[in-house]
Symmetry: C2
Subunit: 253 residues, 2 copies
C-alpha cells in the first residue's frame, strides 16, 4: 500500500453525456434558471428537434428525463409544458446541479444549507445510538487523514467526505443517506466553484473530533449539538446570506 492512489474522483464533475443527456441538461438549466417559466408551453416536438438540429427521438428522450424529474408534463394535443414549481423534484441530484449551475440563487442555497443542517445533525444523533465499532474505526481513520493532509489537498477533502459517509452509514437509514449525499454533492460543487482562493476557515479537525467523541460515547444530544456547530463552521465561508425582504417576491407559481 505504499503506492499513491490515482486520485480518482468519486463524483465526476461532468460525466460524459449522450446527446439526449445534453439536451435534458440544457432544457433543465433553462427551466431552473427561469428562461422557461412554469406554465410555459414548449414548442412542439418537430419544431424543437429541428431548432436543436437533433432527431425527434433524442429530443423525446430528453423530455422523458425532465418529466421523470417533475419539471415538465406532456399531453397530446396540448403539448409539453413546464410544471408548477411544487411539482419539481428539487432534491433530485440533477435538478440540484442544474439549479446551481450558473448563477446560484443565494436564497435557494441558504434553504439547502438549512435542510442539510437539519438532517445531518439529526443523523449525528441517530449515529450516536446505532454506530458499530467498525463505523467508529472508519471515522477515526478519516479524522486522522484530515489532520495529516488538511482540506487544502484532495486527500484531505476525501478524508472529510469519508467521515461524513461513515457517519451516515451509522444511521442505518437509507433515506437519510440518499438525501444527504445528494445535498452535499450539490453544496460541495457550488461552494467549490464560488469560493476558490478564499481564506480557509479555522481548523475543522477539533469540531470533527467533538462529533466523533459524542458518537463514541453514545451521546445523542451531544452529537447533534456538535454536528450543528460543525456545519455552522462550514457555512461561514459561504457568500453573505442576505435573507431579506426581497424574498417575498413571486409567491404564486
Amino acid at each position: 500500500m505504499t503506492k499513491l492512489m490515482p486520485l480518482g474522483r468519486k463524483h465526476p464533475i461532468s460525466k460524459v453525456l449522450r446527446l439526449h443527456g445534453t439536451i435534458a441538461r440544457d432544457l433543465g438549466t433553462a427551466i431552473m434558471s427561469g428562461v422557461y417559466q412554469p406554465g410555459d408551453l414548449l414548442t412542439g416536438e418537430v419544431a424543437s428537434s429541428e431548432r436543436l438540429a437533433v432527431s425527434r427521438t433524442a429530443y423525446r428522450e430528453a423530455v422523458r428525463i425532465l418529466a421523470a424529474k417533475g419539471l415538465v408534463e406532456s399531453k397530446p394535443k396540448v403539448g409539453t409544458k413546464v410544471s408548477s414549481k411544487d411539482k419539481w423534484h428539487l432534491l433530485d441530484p440533477d435538478v440540484l446541479a442544474w439549479a446551481f449551475e450558473n448563477e446560484p440563487d443565494l436564497d435557494l442555497l441558504n434553504s439547502l444549507f438549512e435542510l442539510r443542517n437539519i438532517v445531518e445533525s439529526a443523523a449525528a444523533a441517530l449515529a450516536a445510538t446505532r454506530r458499530s465499532e467498525m463505523h467508529l474505526k472508519t471515522m477515526q481513520r478519516a479524522i486522522d487523514g484530515m489532520a495529516r493532509f488538511t482540506l487544502a489537498t484532495e486527500a484531505g477533502r476525501q478524508a472529510d467526505q469519508d467521515f461524513h459517509t461513515a457517519l451516515l452509514q451509522a444511521t442505518e437509514n437509507p433515506f437519510i443517506m440518499s438525501l444527504t449525499t445528494g445535498v452535499n454533492a450539490a453544496v460541495n460543487t457550488t461552494t467549490m466553484f464560488k469560493q476558490r482562493n478564499r481564506p480557509l476557515p479555522r481548523d475543522p479537525v477539533p469540531d470533527h473530533v467533538r462529533v466523533f467523541e459524542a458518537i463514541a460515547d453514545k451521546n445523542a444530544v451531544g452529537a447533534q449539538k456538535a454536528m450543528t456547530e460543525l456545519i455552522q463552521l462550514a457555512r461561514l465561508d459561504t457568500p453573505t446570506p442576505k435573507r431579506s425582504a426581497a424574498r417575498r417576491t413571486r409567491r404564486k407559481t
Copy 2:
C-alpha cells in the same frame, strides 16, 4: 358555496400512464422489490422490447426514466445494468411509490417515518419563526375542518393535509416542502392501504391545536416538540415496528 365539492383527488392514486410509463413502473417495481438486483444486467433492448411486445422506442424511453431516477445505467457494448443502491434516488416520488407498492419492507417504512419525523418537526420550528398571519388563518381553518368532519371522511383528511401544507409553506423553504410532500404522499397511500378497517387513533385535533398555538406564539422549540408528539401519534397505527436484529442482513449492495 353550498354545493358539495366533487371530491376531486389531489393526489391521484394511479394517474393515467402511457406505455413507456407502465414499462417504467413495471421495471421499477421489479427493481425495488428485488426481482432485479443491483449489478444485474438487463437483457438487451431488442430482446427486452420483443419480450414485452413493445417497440424499442417505448422500451428505451422507459429505461431513460429509470436512469433519470438513478436505478439503472446504460453503456454501449455492456448493456443496461441495475445501479448499486447508493445511487438510487430513494426520495423520488415514483421510486418511493414503487418501493412500497407490493409488500412494503417494514424496516424501510420505519426509516421513512424516521426521516419524516426529523424533517417535519424541524419544519414546525421554522414555521414558528417565519409564519405570517395568512398562514395562521389557513391552519386555523384546517383545524376547524378536521374537527367538523373527522378523519373518517374525505373532507376531514383533506383538512388535515391542508394543515400540514400550510405549515410547510410557512417554512419558506422549498426543499423542505418538496421533500415532505413527497414523503407524506408515500406514507399516506401505503398506510391507507395497509390499515383499512383499523381502529382510528385518538382524536388528533388537540395535538394539532398544540402545534398551532406554539407556532402562533412563535415558540420554535414548543412547536417542534408538539409536532414530534403529533407524528408519534400517527405512527401508532402503523404495523408493529419490529426493528430487530434481522435488520443487519445483506449489508453490501
